[in-house]
């Protein structure tokens, strides 16, 4: 009957209860979004790394993958040495660079070049070993099979007006003043692909590794930016990483865990902000529930004194008042869960449109355990919010309260 009384009390002032519940729901939604935001970028990054299927990345000593234009020479020997490690099952060398595509009305197949006739479109290019690459997923067409074939993304096609099947001219360098190209090559576009680590708006292409190296001339001959390494299942990744790093003083070996740690460090401020906002949400939820329950107790002070007078135990009064706080928090948290997911999706759409971010990058990562933990925390706050008004209600001096109520 006490629970029924608690719920009936809440439904007595429907508008006020609804507004408070809405407030708690907004706080819960914000809390959920901040928890999702706190881990979203990290988990997205982990997803991308794991999707590539490599556990270790070798980079020029002291650099992060594609953090700079640094490269390591003797790429073939390095790949051979790494492949010789008994725990290594796959090695994928990469080189990152730029290509310049000459776009003329004649060079396009069907479309007018969007940037106008005789324009030059720059794009990021990856030199890959097609058989082992994990950097792009083909959407249309086929994998690279010859040195003069190229895979591109949708942004590149949109900027150039080219289409899959077109034969195009590209160059490793371009002097804008002299309008002179260097390291030119005629290649055929064989596929449209989605590049895992690149933003949806960023123009990108992939060529066979040796093609990119050759286009760069002697400076780029046999050089690599990153060597991706896949270990055999069950291998101790950290041991392999240390071994590979010790074997060649020119490279740093970065494991997935170390890469995530690096990302964590970079996202430190972001996570702190999310933590602060989540704490603010909890505080707002707590204050809302405390305020409503306190107001409710103040309104019913005479009723509560009478309940005590007719023999209702203190703990039952405490339980009734706290049940109100719990009910508000539970309903608010449940609504907030849905609201949080909707707003996360909406905000993700806005944030994901930032240039330079991978197309499938998620800022908000829904992890059920973390979400329910945070909403559970909010419900705990609701319980805690009811403690003070409940205790106050239960410890009212009965006679004095009744006398004051009678006078009032």
């Amino acid at each position: 009957m006490m629970l029924r009384l608690a719920l009936a009390t809440l439904s007595r002032r429907r508008a006020r209860t609804a507004l408070t519940t809405a407030g708690v729901a907004v706080a819960a939604a914000m809390l959920l979004d901040m928890v999702m935001l706190g881990s979203g970028m990290r988990e997205s990054f982990r997803g991308f790394i794991e999707q590539q299927g490599f556990q270790i990345r070798l980079t020029p000593r002291g650099t992060m993958p594609f953090d700079s234009e640094a490269t390591v020479g003797g790429g073939a020997a390095l790949v051979q040495a790494v492949s010789a490690d008994p725990d290594v099952v796959k090695v994928a060398p990469l080189i990152g660079s730029k290509i310049f595509s000459r776009v003329t009305a004649a060079s396009t197949s069907a479309n007018t070049p969007p940037s106008g006739a005789d324009s030059v479109v720059a794009a990021f290019v990856l030199g890959v070993v097609p058989a082992v690459q994990g950097d792009y997923l083909i959407v249309e067409g086929r994998e690279l099979a010859a040195p003069d074939e190229m895979v591109v993304n949708a942004s590149y096609l949109a900027a150039t007006g080219f289409a899959v099947g077109d034969t195009v001219q590209i160059a490793a360098g371009y002097d804008a003043q002299m309008r002179r190209f260097a390291g030119t090559r005629t290649v055929r576009i064989v596929a449209r692909a989605r590049f895992v680590m690149l933003g949806g708006t960023e123009r990108a292409a992939a060529l066979p590794l040796e093609t990119v190296q050759a286009m760069g001339g002697p400076e780029r001959a046999d050089r690599v930016s990153v060597v991706m390494v896949a270990t055999r299942p069950g291998a101790d990744i950290e041991t392999v990483r240390l071994r590979l790093e010790a074997a060649d003083a020119r490279v740093s070996a970065l494991s997935t865990a170390a890469a995530l740690k690096f990302v964590d460090e970079r996202l430190g401020y972001f996570r702190q902000l999310a933590f602060i906002l989540a704490t603010v949400s909890l505080a707002v939820g707590f204050l809302l529930v405390t305020t409503l329950v306190t107001v409710s107790v103040n309104e019913r002070i005479g009723e509560i004194a009478v309940m005590r007078a007719i023999g209702v135990a203190r703990w039952r009064i405490v339980a009734q008042v706290m049940a109100e706080g719990v009910a508000l928090s539970l309903v608010g948290a449940t609504i907030g869960l849905g609201l949080g997911l909707i707003t996360a999706k909406w905000l993700n759409g806005i944030l994901a449109a930032f240039p330079g971010l991978p197309a499938a990058f998620d800022f908000f990562y829904f992890e059920p355990a973390a979400a329910f933990r945070s909403l559970g925390l909010l419900v705990l706050c609701g319980i805690a919010a009811g403690v003070w008004p409940a205790w106050r209600a239960a410890t009212l001096p009965i006679a004095k309260t009744l006398r004051e109520e009678a006078v009032a």
């Binding site: 009957m1 005479g302 009723e303 007078a309 007719i310 023999g311 135990a313 039952r316 006679a399 009744l402």
Partner: protein, 243 residues
């Protein structure tokens, strides 16, 4: 010889008001036998309600003893006093104080629910009590759907729910019009004739005249007692006492 339900001995109650001690009740001694109906009357501020609160174990005396059915309520801790109020005493207040979100029947069930009476039993007893007070047909009405007199009847039914040894009523007709007040007095009379021991605090002369004994208080002390109808005289007390 009738059982003494309530025995108060030299009861005092002092409390500070703006730092100064106020002697609200000054050494009151009072016996109430089973089946008696005592009306405590006196001017405002004379300590009537304070005395009633002390007798009902919702306040503690500064000195003296209060025994109800042999139990010293003045020395009970909060949990014991709460339990005692639940099963040993029925309260009726001037302002009814029904739970507005519960029906009349649920209001009557509330003390029984607290006393862990099985649901079927308490529903049946609530109906029985509401029928007794003349509200059998309005059991499912909520307080706001009832008149003042009807609400007070529900409050009386609630007070009787756990078959208390003593019914304490603080100005039970104070919020009612004259006609409804008279009906209420008739109900109290019937309750008393059916064996309920009652102590009422009142300004209502008609209610006081209906009681078996009238205790006059002044400045926190009993100054006079008048026995109007001795115990055993079961003739109707008040005019029109036919509730």
């Amino acid at each position: 010889m009738r059982e003494i339900v309530l025995a108060a001995r030299d009861v005092r109650r002092d409390y500070p008001v703006v730092g100064e001690p106020v002697h609200a009740v000054r050494g009151i001694s009072l016996d109430v036998a089973a089946g008696d109906w005592v009306a405590v009357v006196g001017p405002s501020g004379c300590g009537k309600s304070t005395l009633l609160n002390l007798l009902g174990a919702i306040d503690r005396p500064t000195a003296g003893s209060i025994s109800i059915r042999g139990k010293d309520v003045a020395r009970m801790n909060d949990a014991e006093a709460t339990r005692f109020r639940l099963t040993g005493i029925g309260f009726v207040f001037q302002r009814f104080y029904l739970m507005p979100t519960l029906t009349a029947s649920e209001n009557v069930e509330l003390p029984m629910s607290e006393a862990k009476v099985p649901r079927a039993q308490r529903v049946a007893r609530a109906r029985e009590l509401l029928t007794y007070v003349g509200l059998g047909a309005r059991a499912d009405h909520r307080p706001y759907q009832l008149s003042g007199g009807e609400q007070q009847r529900v409050a009386i039914a609630r007070a009787l729910a756990n078959q208390p040894a003593l019914l304490l009523a603080d100005e039970p007709t104070g919020e009612l019009d004259a006609r409804t007040g008279t009906e209420m007095i008739a109900l109290f009379d019937r309750l008393n004739r059916d064996g309920t021991t009652i102590v009422t605090v009142t300004h209502d002369e008609e209610l006081a005249q209906a009681a078996r004994r009238v205790v006059h208080m002044k400045d926190g002390a009993i100054v006079d007692q008048v026995v109007r109808r001795p115990l055993g005289d079961d003739a109707p007390a008040a005019r029109g006492a036919t509730a």
